[in-house]
């Protein structure tokens, strides 16, 4: 009985320490973005790896999501003669939810595992210790550039996923369902306009759709870096770190998306 209690105590203590360490890492990585030295070159390299490297899967994901969304919704909407609303449905779904979330999940699958594996192998081969021995803070050198890169590229990739998804829906609507491109695009524009505008210009749906990737980018970079820097146990540990980084980031992104949506609905669209 005592040993069970001790084991539970130990696990709870480890989990609590882990969460605290996570937030300390996140706080320091963010704070280092505002103080010298800056590692701009490293940031650019990471933008290339996370952003340009993820572009093909984001394009494919966006395109097929828009296409399948149009196809599935047409089945129901046609029954009620409401197939002209396909544009509204695809536009709202892509811009508000599917674009940001699917794009973040795709980039997480690719980039979080890469970041965790890279930092993890640097940990087990003592390269992190070497950095520290030269007076370099590994969080400043390794985490902050990746965080900045994720914060810059994820909104851009989301925007691309939104546009390509809407384009996918357009292709299905015109060539498979038989509604005109004008009707489809008018539906998309209507649904964006209905949500209202920020500063009288930016559709609110668009703003919420681009705020989310900022949060998702931070989750991706912090989580991957946390597991990478805390890798233990050689190559097996590197594999575990990569897996945990992807699973934890994905779950956090989905959970945070719900709460973020609630907050954004209250802030940007009061009364809903």
């Amino acid at each position: 009985m005592a040993s069970i209690e001790a084991t539970v105590n130990l696990r709870v203590r480890r989990a609590t320490t882990g969460v605290l360490d996570y937030f300390v890492l996140a706080g320091r990585a963010t704070a280092f973005a505002f103080s010298r030295p800056f590692y701009f070159r490293d940031g650019l390299v990471q933008m290339d790896r996370i952003g340009v490297g993820s572009l093909p899967i984001v394009l494919l994901t966006g395109l097929f999501t828009g296409m399948v969304l149009a196809l599935q919704s047409s089945v129901e909407l046609t029954r009620f003669g409401a197939d002209i609303y396909i544009g509204n449905l695809v536009g709202a779904s892509m811009v508000r939810e599917l674009g940001p979330v699917l794009c973040a999940l795709m980039v997480t699958g690719r980039a979080a595992s890469g970041i965790a594996a890279e930092l993890g192998s640097m940990r087990v081969t003592e390269q992190i210790d070497a950095l520290q021995s030269f007076g370099t803070d590994p969080i400043r050198k390794l985490v902050t550039p990746r965080l900045m890169a994720a914060l810059v590229v994820l909104p851009v990739l989301t925007l691309i996923a939104d546009v390509v998804g809407i384009l996918g829906g357009l292709i299905i609507s015109v060539f498979r369902i038989g509604i005109t491109a004008d009707a489809y695009l008018q539906g998309v524009l209507n649904t964006l306009a209905e949500s209202g505008f920020v500063f009288g210009f930016f559709p609110k749906d668009f703003v919420t759709g681009l705020l989310k990737p900022l949060v998702f980018g931070a989750i991706l970079a912090h989580t991957a870096a946390y597991y990478g820097l805390n890798t233990r146990g050689g190559t097996e540990g590197v594999g575990l770190a990569a897996t945990r980084a992807v699973v934890t980031s994905s779950v956090l992104i989905l959970a945070v998306d719900y709460f973020l949506t609630q907050v954004l609905l209250v802030v940007l669209r009061p009364g809903i």
């Binding site: 030295p37 003592e126 210790d129 030269f134």
Partner: protein
């Protein structure tokens, strides 16, 4: 101790006691690194159990011991990559355990570290690896950095033109370790810490490596702390030896004194 072995060790000691011009070097007395009653545990595992040692300016102290005896942990404590549970660690007279994070970074800049597997940054070229501490810790121009990198690579008997553009994965283990030394001495540190530098190397490369360590001591007057389980190779470069067993120092003395010791554990370790 056989007379031939004793003669050989005395020869090394005499070589180390003279500078590059063959003049006798003054006996160092300034303590550069001091550990006093240092204790460290990871959970229930006691790693260091009251370790005390001194490293004097300009000397090479070897910490020998079996794998898992806590040798490498001592180096991490000196660099403040770990904090002791109890005891004091002073480097250049500063209490390492009480330094702030930023002060610890400053301290590390004065210490070079040669890692067991070189720990070269595998995404950077050899040039970028050796230039890294110069870029981080000095205000040298790019020309000056290149000049220094070439000089350091030359010092460790590597042809700069041949290796500078290569990645660490393209070099042999011995060459990588030499690059590790070149990187460690890039900023002229006052102290160099070696963590099992000759493990996994062939005998010829080990010989070259030992000659390099002696050259560093004679020509650059660097204070060195060598951690190794390969005691025979360590004898070729060290002025003094501390033997660590299960987190405690069980022998302190010169290599000759160690060879002459009658303690069964030391005899077994040497054999």
């Amino acid at each position: 101790m056989s007379s031939a072995a004793g003669e050989y060790l005395r020869g090394i000691r005499e070589e180390l006691a003279r500078d590059e011009a063959g003049r006798p070097r003054p006996v160092p007395d300034e303590i550069v690194i001091r550990l006093s009653d240092v204790r460290l545990s990871f959970g229930d595992l006691v790693v260091l159990d009251g370790v005390s040692l001194d490293v004097r300016r300009g000397e090479t102290l070897m910490i020998a011991g079996e794998s898992g005896s806590g040798k490498s942990t001592i180096l991490k404590l000196i660099l403040r990559l770990l904090r002791p549970d109890a005891g004091e660690i002073s480097v250049f007279g500063e209490d390492v355990a009480h330094l702030t994070f930023v002060e610890a970074l400053d301290l590390r800049r004065q210490i070079g570290m040669v890692f067991q597997n070189a720990a070269l940054f595998d995404s950077m070229s050899i040039y970028e690896n050796v230039a890294y501490p110069l870029r981080e810790n000095t205000a040298l121009s790019e020309d000056e950095i290149e000049h220094t990198v070439r000089e350091r690579l030359d010092f460790v008997d590597l042809d700069p033109d041949q290796v500078m553009a290569q990645l660490p994965s393209q070099l042999s283990g011995g060459m990588r370790k030499r690059v590790g030394i070149a990187r460690a001495i890039a900023t002229n540190p006052r102290v160099i810490l070696y963590d099992e530098p000759t493990s996994g190397l062939d005998p010829l490369t080990v010989g070259t490596f030992n000659a390099l360590m002696r050259k560093l001591q004679r020509e650059l007057h660097v204070t060195s702390l060598l951690v190794t389980h390969d005691i025979r190779e360590g004898f070729r470069v060290a002025n003094r030896v501390n033997l660590l067993r299960a987190g405690r120092i069980v022998f302190r003395g010169t290599p000759e004194e160690m060879v002459a010791a009658r303690d069964p554990y030391i005899t077994a370790f040497l054999s």
